[in-house]
């Protein structure tokens, strides 16, 4: 979700195989560089492998070009990588959030074969995506400061995953501003 010169990216913490909960501290939001984060929902193994591959590509990019990747460029890279596997895809929906040129927030999501969807306010993915769309739509306001943004994102996330039996067990929220990153674990219903 986009705020004023900042963005928030959040996920739930459940890792499960259908009805069985395997872990309650699973990390789904990953850092690419200080101002670029990616959240990967879907199949856990694909999320981890895709993340490792992206970090690999980004590190090479950093070494060759001596600079960090811009969020828009990174989104194009993810989209290209996903489409390379068009007929045997990664079962992941990424959510990409970053601060671009002049620290302008940038967010986008894509489907598992790389169809990019840019947004100015919020993007969602995962099993609770429909609830999340509803919650975000009603709770979102433009130009929120980091503290207010954190409240809004946490409320929207908790409200949506509570209605989803496959998601929950707390929330993990990152608030990223040009100067710092705040990482907070949100306590929710543990069921």
């Amino acid at each position: 979700m986009v705020g004023k010169n900042c963005f928030a990216i959040a996920s739930d913490r459940r890792l499960g195989v259908q009805l069985q909960t395997i872990a309650t501290d699973f990390q789904r939001v990953f850092k690419i560089h200080d101002k670029l984060y990616i959240g990967l929902s879907g199949l856990a193994t694909d999320a981890q492998t895709l993340y490792q591959r992206l970090v690999f590509r980004h590190k090479l990019y950093q070494l060759r070009e001596e600079r960090d990747m811009k969020p828009e460029t990174f989104a194009s890279l993810v989209s290209a990588m996903l489409y390379e596997r068009r007929f045997g895809p990664y079962f992941c929906q990424p959510v990409i959030a970053g601060l671009g040129e002049n620290d302008e927030p940038f967010i986008c999501t894509m489907d598992c074969i790389g169809a990019k969807e840019l947004a100015k306010d919020f993007v969602v993915s995962g099993t609770s995506s429909e609830s999340l769309y509803g919650a975000c739509e009603s709770m979102y306001k433009p130009n929120m400061e980091p503290e207010e943004l954190f409240e809004t994102v946490s409320q929207a996330l908790m409200a949506s995953v509570d209605r989803d039996c496959l998601a929950g067990w707390g929330g993990h929220v990152f608030i990223v501003t040009p100067t710092e990153v705040q990482e907070r674990v949100v306590k929710g219903r543990m069921d």
Binding site: R64, E65, K70, E72, T73, S76, L77, A80
Partner: protein, 235 residues
């Protein structure tokens, strides 16, 4: 003297540690038509002689300066056909970068990849090095840039450089006239004067080619009419 025994094969070092084929490639470049480039504070200019073998040749069909991307251009000294192959490969690499990142390739990256291609041809079986040196001029987020790439695959960034037949005179002339804060129009005048220095015969708007890139990041080859204007200013 022992070197000449090793000049047959590209992939064999001579006892003095040289790859003689690359030396020969540089000789081929050195006998090509003069070309030069100057990096100004707000752009880059590249220029070359366009001496045609006969007056019957249609000079509008000869294009020695080519654009690799909308904001990067290149000129060469040496063998024309080798140049065309490199231009094709470089353009493809630039487009592949764009397809992946939806961002125009930075000048240094394109130079690196072109140099890597040229190096490949110095370490493979059954091929010969490219008989061209390139001057790649571009304008990206790091400002105006000018690079020279040699047949060996080594590349250097230059403030001003020349290659080809008249290289030593041209470089001396450029050394004397180059200033750090030169503007592009001054650089174009200097480029024309440098070409004039070593030109056998009368220089005109039809027998030189000039390419410029300004801060608008659009690489353009100047038309004969525009070259004529600059020539008149120089006279």
């Amino acid at each position: 003297m022992g070197d000449s025994q090793y000049s047959f094969s590209l992939t064999t070092f001579s006892p003095s540690g040289k790859l003689v084929q690359i030396e020969h490639a540089l000789t081929a470049v050195g006998s090509g038509q003069t070309s030069l480039g100057i990096k100004a504070s707000n752009g880059v200019v590249i220029a070359t002689e366009k001496k045609l073998p006969s007056i019957l040749v249609d000079e509008t069909s000869v294009q020695k300066i080519q654009a690799l991307t909308p904001n990067i251009g290149v000129v060469y000294s040496g063998m024309g056909p080798d140049f065309r192959v490199l231009v094709r490969k470089s353009r493809k690499q630039a487009q592949q970068y764009y397809r992946l990142y939806k961002e125009h390739i930075p000048v240094t990256q394109l130079v690196r990849e072109t140099a890597a291609v040229m190096q490949e041809f110095t370490q493979s079986g059954g091929v010969r090095p490219f008989g061209v040196s390139l001057l790649i001029a571009g304008y990206d987020d790091n400002g105006p840039q000018l690079y020279q790439v040699d047949p060996s695959g080594s590349y250097f960034s230059w403030k001003a450089s020349a290659m080809g037949k008249n290289v030593s005179n041209a470089k001396t002339f450029l050394e004397k006239r180059y200033t750090e804060d030169m503007e592009l129009d001054d650089a174009i005048h200097t480029a024309i004067l440098t070409l004039k220095e070593g030109y056998e015969g009368q220089i005109s708007s039809n027998n030189i080619e000039i390419g410029v890139i300004r801060s608008d990041r659009e690489f353009r080859v100047l038309s004969p009419a525009e070259i004529k204007d600059f020539l008149e200013e120089v006279e």
